[in-house]
Symmetry: D2
Subunit: 452 residues, 4 copies
């Protein structure tokens, strides 16, 4: 398979959406590098146990550092086995004394599963979380800046009662902060293994007295990943599934936020917008258009990553001590992570350019001519003992609409309500006359949430 440049690629993650930094951990070259690292960790552990000398271990480490992805693939073409190919490439570079030590007692997936845990932890630490934190920080700033910017709350696409725009944003801050912790935890619970072809330490038992201790030291000290309680040829898949699930859940929050922001950019709503670059074209044919393409792209990438949980969940099943039907499929997990990283960076760029139109917010708040006062009116009437407040106010909103007046006016015109209205406090009347005040503790909560 030749490749002149990225445009020979079929996958959009390779020719279009991929993040350069993420590739450092998720490309095939990186994967091979991580597998070589596990082989190196192994010889050092063997050395520590006295199976080989330090000189041999160092020789193998030096040889390993020279192995290239290209030659591993060429050797694989010859022998049709990817890990044995990698092993042969190391062996070809070392003395006869060192040869038997390379890959000693290891099975392929001791190397592969451990390498996956390592690189996914690294990409989380060095790319995923820092990018997620940057987005959260931007959102936090918007939330604080707009903590008291009143906005109509919408449920079912209909005006409900007011919140503040900052409060809306603080929700995303809370959800992403929560998921940031979960992704981190899930990444660090990813397990490696070194228990051999069927998980029973058959081969290792030939050489060391306590193969569990050997594995633990190799994994924890040599590779920085956990040991699992049990393994077959592969580590139990639940840890990876949970990790991928949390990655996909991050994607879901990003898509939800993108959806919100692009709906708020609808021509009729227009409460937020993006600063457009001077040269930016919105449409190939409609020169006036300013399309929220980054937000749409974020949503679209969610449609790429979310269904891939099905692949992960199918990989949970593996016959007996394992079949290999998770081999090609698990190679796509890195793509999923890369897409979610791409979603983050796009959203961060968009949030940085986000402008809030206070006039539009006010205009929309007033759109129902006080109809949104229905809830406080009903509740205050109820609290004053009206036995049927919800039904009375429901009808009142119809009347107000038909007679084209505000709900407060309609209420005042209803004689049956007089005994209640005369007992209303000033604060209560304010909420009904100007229901844009009816924002509960939105501002206070915004500040509390973004602080945590």
């Amino acid at each position: 398979m030749t490749l002149k440049d990225r445009f020979d690629c079929v996958s959009p993650i390779d020719y279009r959406y991929g993040d350069e930094e993420a590739k450092t951990y998720l490309s095939e070259r990186a994967f091979v590098r991580y597998k070589l690292q596990v082989e190196v960790a192994l010889v050092h552990e063997l050395c520590r146990r006295g199976v080989c000398s330090g000189a041999v271990a160092d020789e193998i480490e030096r040889a390993t550092s020279q192995v290239t992805c290209q030659e591993v693939y060429e050797e694989e073409d010859r022998i049709h086995h990817d890990i044995r190919a990698l092993v042969n490439c190391i062996r070809a570079r070392v003395s006869d004394e060192a040869k038997p030590i390379v890959h000693m007692a290891a099975t392929s997936y001791d190397i592969v599963d451990t390498a996956n845990a390592m690189r996914f932890q690294d990409v989380v630490t060095h790319v995923f979380l820092p990018n997620l934190d940057e987005l959260t920080r931007e959102l936090r700033e918007v939330a604080i800046r707009e903590a008291d910017t009143k906005q109509i709350g919408r449920t079912h696409g209909q005006h409900a009662v007011p919140i503040t725009f900052g409060y809306c944003m603080s929700g995303y801050v809370a959800r992403l902060a929560h998921l940031s912790d979960e992704v981190e935890e899930a990444a660090f619970r990813l397990c490696g293994k070194f228990s051999g072809a069927v998980g029973a330490y058959n081969s290792l038992s030939l050489f060391v007295d306590d193969p569990r201790a050997f594995e633990r030291s190799l994994l924890e000290n040599g590779c920085g990943v956990r040991q699992s309680v049990h393994a077959t040829q592969i580590v139990p898949p639940e840890f990876m599934a949970r990790f991928m699930m949390n990655v996909v859940l991050v994607g879901g929050v990003l898509a939800d936020l993108a959806d919100d922001l692009r709906h708020l950019q609808r021509t009729e709503i227009a409460e937020v917008g993006e600063v457009f670059e001077v040269d930016q074209v919105g449409s190939s044919t409609m020169p006036h258009k300013r399309n929220p393409i980054n937000l749409e792209n974020v949503k679209s990438m969610w449609k790429i990553v979310m269904p891939r949980m099905v692949t992960v969940l199918m990989d949970q099943l593996s016959e007996h001590q394992r079949d290999l039907t998770n081999s090609a499929s698990s190679r796509t997990y890195g793509e999923t992570i890369a897409y979610v990283i791409s979603m983050m960076t796009r959203l961060t760029r968009t949030v940085k350019k986000l402008v809030v139109d206070r006039d539009a917010l006010q205009r929309n708040l007033n759109a129902t001519a006080g109809g949104i006062a229905a809830e406080p009116l009903y509740l205050i009437l109820a609290s004053l003992g009206h036995p049927d407040a919800h039904e009375v106010v429901r009808k009142l909103t119809r009347t107000a609409r038909e007679e084209d007046r505000t709900l407060w006016q309609a209420a005042c015109a209803d004689a049956s309500l007089a005994p209640y209205l005369e007992r209303i406090t000033t604060e209560q009347r304010v909420m009904i006359v100007d229901p844009t005040q009816y924002t509960g503790i939105a501002e206070q909560r915004t500040r509390e949430i973004v602080k945590t």
Copy 2:
């Protein structure tokens, strides 16, 4: 929609696979009952804050206990709103003084989300986990019983190197024990809410000074569920998604186990079997058949539940302070839980009837005429300094196959190996001559794993 008996149902969970006990928490009747419980918890909390008297709270609780599912649905038919219908049914039974207190300051999803958290916690505590524990207990017993029962390990469906059958079972014990903890934790992290129509405590702020404290007390003391950091009209969906994910992961392990056991029942393998009941029919046309239908059913139900994670993940997105497009879909989550419970009870029944055929295990261990000794032979040669042991043994296995002798015989006939073979220890030779001994620490690990 009339229903004469269960055979009028369309869903197999209702006419065929449902568990009677699970229905106590997951049926629509149960769901309505939980929603009524939240309404009761609310009036008691209002009473505690002095908004209403204890007499009123008690009156409402009494009235609520009389409301039936049937009448709620009839009222809904009239007014087209499920929660208002429920509220009306309570209100119809109380005095004018109590009427305004019913559902006071609540929005529908304060009730619905909280009720869902409650019933899912309850079904986990009272049905899911006990059933899972029973299955794990049965598996644990099998694991201990068969801790040293040698079995050929299989990778790619090919004979690899030996384990013990108990070790294989201990893997499922470990995975299920892990998931049992995860499901429990996820269930108890499910959040309720009482922050009103858009999550900003708009309505509650009219009546109480510290709406967060009111909500916390209502949820924790009144309903036994957690308060979330932020909410819109609904609780953040990530907690539910994670809970459902863990439920589905349990389903995956059960399917994996079912797959293993039914493959081990293949006519040619026949290492395990189920005690067949005297009257049990295996096939409508082939009277000799003994089909592993329960195991197949478990796998088949996994194909029902697993894809439903996509529904859950789509419900993660909700426009602005929420759209209602998660309403019908989230009603199906209970089904998913019910199916996984059904999978457990079937598997438990099957594991209880499981018989292990030691003759078959031994026959299969011997099937490759010692070919499975290739790994220990290669490793021992390597440890003795042979620079090319893997390749030599790979070719030796071809020779042995072609000349129809054991690998050990072929090795002894190869003069180039003599310098190494003469240095082999007795223990090492045993592993190669009788590779069924080559089980690593399978037995020891089995006992350690099932103990934890």
Copy 3:
């Protein structure tokens, strides 16, 4: 499993969303009835071939008509085989002479697969298509009524260029009409089978000379379904998968339409609305709300049915002459069909109540103060030879926005455009000055599309 009423059900299709008529074909009772019909068709075919007498065939038919679902399930509880249970229930009612003829030469899935093809064809013919046609008819009426009702076209949620509301609706008419044909064709390509336990007509070959002809006659004449070219124990799954796919695609169009209509009901857009019933409650706490709950429910049900394609696609794989892991899962296909029927009837109800607000349509058309003229202006300038029309107009829209005038005004103020503008025809100027005229052939196409 006892069932007092529908509220004991766990699945919303059984307690809430199911359509009474669909249940006639999709309930378990109906399924058992169809399986019995296949058994009857079999004995009549056996009679036709001289294997049994007409008297015996009639005796079995009479007996079969008395078998109840309840007794079949009771017998299954005893012998653990559903089809053998059904056979036993028939056999228990006939003479010793007739007994051997019941189910003769059949394997269970000869009965089950054939019954599924029959009932799905029937539910399509009698419920699915008539309901889909009713919806399409309603949409067609709206399309004709509003064929020339101008509406701003929206892409990316942004105002693009105008269409008519009728044109928008005609798109759904076209898509549903197309799918109606596809669903019908796919239903009538569903295959039955009568080739026995492994598909090679092993048993039938014992009794008849041309088992293919026997099967064809039984299926086509006796059951009204097709014969497949090849079968194992089961019919090739691709026909069912394609049928389900088309059912799910109908669901997708319904969801798309529901999404459109509910966004058009957003408070700020408000171009369409639903006539609300006098007693209808929109929110349990906000008496003014008029939520598009039926539309939201349609979308939500799509989230239920769409992922179930994954179940269907997983059922495409079956080991060797079949495993049974599609048994429980394929029992849920009827649910999917039932949900899509429910989606249709809900949408039909909503479309019947649909009102179009022409004032709102006009207001929205004018919202960008002529900005939507950018496309015709650019194109007309280009057609007049302006080498850089798109870029010029793109900048002009910025200027117009900043200077708060219409695009036409801004264009006239730009001296560089004068040489082009003076050559503009009257019709062209109209399009730019009043871009609401710029609807292409929307009206004409609407009328053409809905006629076909």
Copy 4:
């Protein structure tokens, strides 16, 4: 995004599994080329309608042939719009007279949707179908070669009754031949469009009298794709969904076949095998292993492609005249096609190396010591009037098993059966004594099926 070689890629389709030929149609470079082709077809159609001269059309075509993917991406980086970037690259190369003609009256998705239909049709014609045909041809050969090779039929993994191996293969031939037709038809029903930004031919109506005729000619003559009845900014998604569905269904059959073949390679079954290359390594640690990795890879790739139907089905929904949330996601459709092509070529390679072990087939046929005669025995007894043949034979199989004799021996020892057994014909007895003869019309059907 820099790319040194394929190992910088993240997606396995780019660094590992992609087919060189498929890339000719599915790479990003190819996609850009197809989009340029649509632009060329447009100017020629404009020329045909007299909107521009032939010289201008030719000038634009020449210019277009020089545009590179690289420069399009660079221009996109500047203006943030992919299609306008492409247009600019053409425009930069033509005279001022030609400039306005480039992309005239087109909207981006007139180009994109049409280009997708074109390239998917081409990859189907030139790569997908030829590869599928090659696989089918190989399978057909195996089917004919093994048309009368008896094999035990397996249901539930249990021995059922015999078929021939050729008959088993003929089933895959039939299914793939069917799908080959369906994929081809679906590909040629893919629609292009040229109806502008909102599908109402707004822009085209400015220049031509019959925009539908213009579009039809452009699409059918210029691009070789169909015109759809209705469009918004995009073509109705159902055609693409159906096409992708059929592609994924092909993947399902390939996975099913791969599963079958790899289970038949299980050590205990070993009825088929692959010729191993002399240098091929089966395991990095177990030198004796011969793992069916290609078959496992095929199954694994199915787990990649199948869930992606969810992406396609989500793309069915698009708000109003379209949102752009299908943009990134639809870019992955080509990957799905590429994976299925890769699955085919792998399977073809494997089928070419497939060897059938007749000894193993015979050994397995005899494994139940005649137990598989239960079906013919039951049916023959029934046909001779035994009223309870199924039950009698069911018990007989238990007895035979317990007493370790064949079913025929057990039957002969049962006095109650004597009246029936004495009436058995010679042919019937053969079937019971040697049930391997009981293959129905497997051989005949194999020959008939593979001929069609």
